[in-house]
């Protein structure tokens, strides 16, 4: 059984068909990339996967469970974590707390424990703090645990968003343009980072990206979307040489 099974997914915004008949199966442990020109509907697909948009038709099945109709926080609780194209951290709180919030669904203590700081609270809180610091150390942010998230430089903010997603202990990680706004050297670091966290945390990764420098080296498979429909899918090398893809990116005349 695939970890994630998307069947004939579609969504209308008024009269606009933003995504049409989108099919995708992802096996546990894969890194799959969704690429396509601006406005192709990639982020819309992500927003449906994470519960922000309700699909007009089609189904999303995750770990054998139908995900249609779940709210975003419920999707997160099921084990799908995501990052955003435009970083969305909790800016005014510490780097550490940004990660500790990720443990919220599995904190292991209730409101009464919180208010009274019971022994159970103390034990579980110490444990999740340790694990949050571990994650920060893994992403090279441990020494900045105490500063506010908005005090971090751009690249570190991207990593913190990934750290926060990891705290959720997800099975599937959705990365929305993780290398947006990065220079080639930083893209290279992001490639290493995605590979590294994927191995270390036993993840399956679905990512949207424009930067071929990120997509080509790490993705097992690619899906190309244009005008809301899949126009090609396959191994990265196959995609690179596919005339339909070149056409979508560069226009017809450039190919001809």
């Amino acid at each position: 059984m695939p970890l994630l099974e998307i069947k004939s997914l579609g969504i209308n915004f008024g009269g606009l068909r933003a995504v049409n008949k989108f099919d995708l199966e992802i096996e546990t442990g894969e890194i799959v990339g969704v690429i396509g020109p601006n406005g192709a509907g990639k982020t819309t697909i992500f927003n449906m996967l994470s519960g922000y948009y309700a699909p007009t038709d089609g189904t999303i099945t995750f770990k054998g469970k139908l995900m249609n109709g779940l709210k975003p926080f419920q999707v997160a609780q099921q084990g799908i974590a995501r990052t955003f194209q435009n970083i969305r951290l909790f800016p005014e709180i510490s780097v550490l707390d940004n990660v500790r919030i990720g443990f919220h669904p599995r904190a292991g203590y209730n409101l009464v424990d919180s208010i009274l700081h019971t022994p159970r609270f103390m034990a579980k809180e110490a444990e999740l703090t340790d694990r949050a610091l571990d994650i920060l150390a893994t992403l090279g942010l441990e020494d900045r645990a105490d500063i506010k998230a908005n005090g971090l430089p751009y690249g570190a903010q991207r990593r913190l968003e990934i750290a926060r997603a990891l705290a959720l202990q997800p099975d599937l990680l959705l990365l929305d343009e993780p290398a947006a706004g990065m220079n080639p050297a930083e893209v290279g670091q992001m490639v290493d980072l995605v590979r590294f966290v994927k191995e270390k945390f036993d993840l399956t990764v679905l990512l949207i990206e424009h930067q071929m420098g990120l997509v080509m080296p790490i993705c097992d498979r690619l899906v190309v979307v244009d005008f809301g429909e899949i126009i090609a899918s396959g191994l990265p090398q196959e995609i690179r040489d596919n005339p339909k893809v070149l056409e979508a990116y560069l226009g017809r005349r450039a190919v001809a």
Binding site: S50, G51, Y52, K71, P72, F73, Q74, A76, Q77, A81, R82, F84, R88, L89, F90, P91, E92, I93, L96, D97, R100, I101, G102, F103, H104, P105, A107, Y109, L111, D113, S114, I115, L116, H117, F121, E125, A126, L128, T129, D130, L133, A137, T138, L139, G140, L141, E142, D143, A145, D146, R164, A165, A167, L168, L193, F196
Partner: protein, 329 residues
């Protein structure tokens, strides 16, 4: 300084402060008039801590906080008058009643109105505040003991400052515990970025309702104390202007700072009295002075006087394990 030492020092200071205040009361420097104001300051502190949870930590704008203080005050008063018990157990019982009734009402109206955002939520809570004051003004038609527009009298008074002081301490500790927990972090996450809160599995609806209910329950607790401090309850004591007072305290103190909220609440209660004395017949113009204070603070320190500052003994220490090889980068 070592964390334990800090906490012990804080506890000692709190006790010393209490002893000094009691001593000043005993030798008469702080007469009955000032004692009433000191108790009132404690009421404001508890109510403001409630609003601090709702607005300061969770970012939900409420313009009707005093209505919940009023609900707590009237509920506690009615409890005492109905059961005609005037001892300490009845006093404590009425505090529980005030907090529970206000919390329950907060929960019931929170469920529908917390779907609204910022300004709209402000208008809904404002409307609720007017409903409560109007309701209380006519409440004697249903329950004569509530007194309606004539006000409610006969509630047994509890004048020992120790109770008020102790309750503020307990509330500060409990609210601090809440704030530094995953539930408190969920509130802050909602304030900071609701979309991002969702992706870490925080339910916005549940978190907002939890915060609002707790904040209203604290308002009710403050109200119940109010009922035992001032022998006359009137709907106008819990009107829109009072709600604005609580809001000013929380904003001036600094959103998300418990230290700031408590200090500003106490300070505010005294500033109002000082203004009453200084302005004399011009006391009705106090609103102008509030506005000036607020404008000046917002220009000079937009984050509030104590914004981003928390007394360090309130902040739990983060214990790091020793041998930790930093990986990555």
């Amino acid at each position: 300084m070592d964390k334990n030492k800090q906490i012990i020092l804080a506890l000692v200071s709190v006790l010393v402060l209490y002893a000094v205040l009691e001593a000043l009361m005993m030798i008469g420097i702080l007469g009955p008039y000032w004692q009433e104001i000191m108790r009132y300051a404690m009421v404001v502190a508890i109510g403001a801590l409630g609003l601090s949870i709702i607005y300061g930590f969770t970012g939900q704008f409420s313009l009707g906080h005093a209505a919940f203080v009023g609900i707590g005050a009237y509920a506690a008063g009615l409890f005492n008058l109905t059961f005609r018990h005037y001892g300490i157990p009845a006093f404590l019982g009425s505090l529980v009643v005030g907090a529970v009734v206000a919390g329950l009402v907060g929960y019931l109206i929170g469920v529908p109105i917390l779907r609204l955002k910022s300004d709209y939520l402000g208008i809904a809570t404002l409307g609720f505040g007017f409903i409560v004051t109007n309701g209380l003004q006519n409440a004697d038609k249903l329950i004569p003991a509530l007194g309606g527009a004539r006000g409610m009298t006969g509630i047994p008074q509890v004048q020992s400052f120790g109770w008020y002081y102790a309750l503020v301490l307990i509330v500060v500790i409990l609210v601090r515990n809440f704030v530094f927990s995953t539930h408190g972090r969920a509130c802050t996450a909602i304030r900071e970025n609701e979309t991002a809160a969702n992706v870490v599995g925080v339910s916005p609806a549940r978190t907002k309702i939890m915060a609002f209910t707790m904040g209203c329950a604290l308002a009710g607790l403050g109200g119940a104390l109010y009922a035992h401090n001032i022998p006359f309850l009137h709907p106008d004591s819990f009107n829109f202007l009072e709600s604005i007072n609580y809001l000013i305290v929380v904003v001036l103190g600094g959103l998300g700072s418990l230290t700031g909220t408590v200090i500003t609440a106490v300070g505010w209660a005294f500033i109002m009295e000082v203004l009453r004395m200084v302005l004399g017949p011009l006391y009705d113009f106090r609103g102008v002075i509030y506005a000036i204070i607020l404008v000046v603070v917002i220009i000079v320190r937009p984050q509030g006087v104590f914004g981003g500052i928390e007394a360090s003994f309130l902040v739990p220490q983060i214990k790091r394990r020793k041998a930790h090889a930093a990986a990555g980068d």
